[in-house]
Amino acid sequence: MIRTTSAPARDDKILVAMSGGVDSSLSAALLAREGRSIIGVTMKTFCYSGVNGPSKTCCGLDGIADAKSVAAQLDMPHFVFDVEEDFTRDVIDDFVSEYAAGRTPIPCVRCNSFTKFRDLVTRADTLDCAWLATGHYARVYRTGSGPARLCRGVDDRKDQTYFLWGIPRSALDRLLLPVGALTKPEVREEARRLELDTAEKPESFEICFVPDNDYAGVLRRYLPENHASLSAGTFRFEDGGVAGQHDGYAHFTVGQRKGLPGGFAEPMFVIEIQPEARVVVIGPREALARSGLVAEAANWLDDVPAEREVLGVRIRHGAPIVDAKVVRADATSFEVDLLLPQEAITPGQSAVLYRGDFVVGGGVIVSSSGGANPST
């Protein structure tokens, strides 16, 4: 298979990942309008049987039916790719074990890193597709000779690069993101204009395998009864004093305010989770600020940054990109100092590094350091 960083040739086949949502539907429609040879695929990530009621989320069976109907509108081949086994192992099992370990994972990052981009690239090869297209709000920047670079989407509010840092570089070379150059309202408008069946489909904000956002329910289903993360434990202040009892640390995430004991002069927040002791540490807002972080399981989509290089970093979806100085960075991990302290740097979330609009790479936050005053 020819790997190229330039645009697809006229006859190159393109595999389009279609979730059944409006973004990927329009991606397919835009490619179809260009007269591309496209094949649609929808991943069946897990079985909804046993979950009551129809699913509103995007990757479920509704999604399959919607994707199929758009594919029929566009007269393109479409098939369903059953990835349940791999998805369960790579995404759901990780989600459960991360929560069990007191961290707050992002399954969408794992899904992109493994299920979508690793497994779909393999699938694209078997279908003789040189290219893979998705409906993500991000752009791939290609120059004649250099490797492809991942760039933020034009819609600042919808930019999804935070979820894409883990994809293999080889996938990036073949990736097409047709809606990355549009804003969400433009996508809706264009989908309406083309009368796509999914034009009015509401956006999904849920994790696809967590119905009604009840992630504790998912944990209860997968973890043994009486697992430490779902068993009673202690709220403590930073100085070790007992602040009350909680019903399982899996119900908490750093920065959370809901569900904490009341009666304090100022609002309290989760500062830290100590899984071994089943302790949830709480404190006032200022205790949330941290000035450094360490991330592991790193993946680089551009040159590994040099020590002392100043980059942008995003520590949470929707958070601003803030300046950070690289303390160290190697193939598998990195440490940065934040020029301005950030609140609620949460183990399990991603830290994504940017050079301007380009994604350099990212990793999973394992620890944060320093108080409100930068440590170096």
Binding site: D11, K13, S37, I39, V41, K44, I64, K68, P77, F79, V80, F81, D82, T122, R123, D125, T126, L127, D128
Partner: protein, 391 residues
């Protein structure tokens, strides 16, 4: 597209639906002016009723059964459900038993599972590596508890791999033990001889769209001695077995399609058999590791070839064929959406480790040797590419 020299549509999925035949179209068109309610007492209603009964009579003649045994329904699934659930519900409180083969259509296995959840006992009769039912096992099961009301549901011919069951033997065995026999003949009609005088099944399901008729109409043949509880209730149409306004145009389409299929069955079967054998030998010669499901069975459908390719990704093969304009199914058309493998192929045993590609080719009246050659060439080329990329 430069990489696909020939992208003309090639339809080799007649077992999913046989496109409507012109004769059927014409027959239905002529009836459209009788689109009145057959239950109406006025002249127009009577004319519609007459068309419905003419169709019923033709169907009965073509199957060699009594016209009063023919009930029009909504299709194959509906008939299968009426037979299985109708039987178990009619014998509610008498500990009814339902036996189905391991490779029945979902319309039967799911109806059986439902019957079980309502209190019937459900037995699954295994098949051998050709998909042929284990008659000795069936006999042992039937002998175990002979006084309970018992239904044996064994499809006449399998939709995924084409195995034709020894249905005469099933009937003889079941009747010896006082059991009632239902057969899903959806795939058998028009492909193998179906004569209900020779093969006295008690219940038979069929649907028009596999025969070149319209979707949405089927029949259940039900002998007078068999007691069924209807699945729905209403104005008593179809002698209360399938109530709801009857469909004379659909019934006419069913009868016309069945007429053509039965009349041409013998000559078409001979032609298909030659195509089938040709396709199979080409596939076995050119596709690495390929096997033909059900090949050793004593009797098989003449128009259907089910190919298994170990270590090969099913969707990749099917989509690539579609991309070249060649329409086929995986295991069955009904399973195509699920993205999962075939339980029928699994039931045959052998090493069927994922990934495993199953490709079903099925022929119709216009399938030619050139078509078969084109399909065989495309399958060999695509399978080699997919296999080369397998990890």
């Amino acid at each position: 597209m430069s990489q696909s020299p020939d992208t003309r549509r090639l339809y080799l999925d007649y077992a999913a639906t046989c496109p409507m035949r012109l004769e059927v179209w014409r027959a239905m068109e002529a009836e459209l002016e009788f689109s009145f309610n057959p239950a109406s007492a006025h002249t127009l209603g009577r004319q519609a009723h007459r068309q419905l009964e003419i169709a019923r009579g033709r169907v009965a003649d073509l199957l060699s059964c009594d016209r009063a045994s023919v009930y029009f329904t909504g299709g194959g699934t509906q008939s299968d459900n009426l037979a299985i659930l109708g039987f178990s519900r009619a014998h509610d409180g008498q500990k009814p038993r339902v036996f189905v083969s391991q490779i029945e259509h979902k319309a039967c296995t799911e109806a059986g599972a439902r019957a079980e959840s309502e209190g019937a006992s459900l037995g699954i009769i295994p098949v051998d590596e050709t998909g042929t039912i284990d008659l000795a096992r069936l006999e042992r099961e039937l002998a175990r508890d002979p006084d309970r009301p018992t239904l044996v549901s064994v499809m006449w011919a399998n939709n995924e791999i084409g195995t034709v069951q020894p249905i005469d033997d099933v009937v003889a065995l079941a009747h010896t033990h006082g059991a009632v026999v239902h057969t899903d003949a959806v795939q058998a009609l028009g492909k193998v001889p179906v004569d209900l005088t020779r093969t006295p099944v008690d219940l038979l399901s069929a649907t028009a769209h596999k025969l070149g008729g319209p979707v949405g109409i089927g029949i259940l043949v039900c002998r007078p001695a068999v007691r069924l509880e209807p699945l729905s209730y209403g104005g008593g149409q179809e002698r209360s077995m399938w109530p709801g306004t009857q469909n004379p145009v659909g019934a006419t389409g069913f009868a016309a399609a069945l007429d053509f299929a039965v009349t041409h069955q013998e000559s078409e079967a001979e032609r298909w058999r030659a195509l089938r054998d040709h396709l199979e030998s080409r596939v076995l010669a050119d596709v690495p590791g390929a096997r033909i499901h059900g090949r050793g069975a004593p009797s098989r459908l003449p128009h259907l070839v089910s190919v298994g390719i170990p270590a090969c990704d099913s969707a990749a093969v099917l989509v690539s064929l579609d991309f070249e304009g060649i329409a086929v199914s995986g295991g069955s058309a009904c399973g195509s959406d699920s993205g999962i493998g075939s339980s029928v192929v699994d039931a045959l045993g052998g090493d069927i480790e994922a990934p495993y590609a199953t490709v079903r080719f099925s022929f119709g009246h216009d399938t030619s040797r050139d078509d078969v050659d084109r399909a065989a060439e495309a399958l060999a080329r695509i399978a080699k590419r997919v296999l080369a990329l397998a990890v």
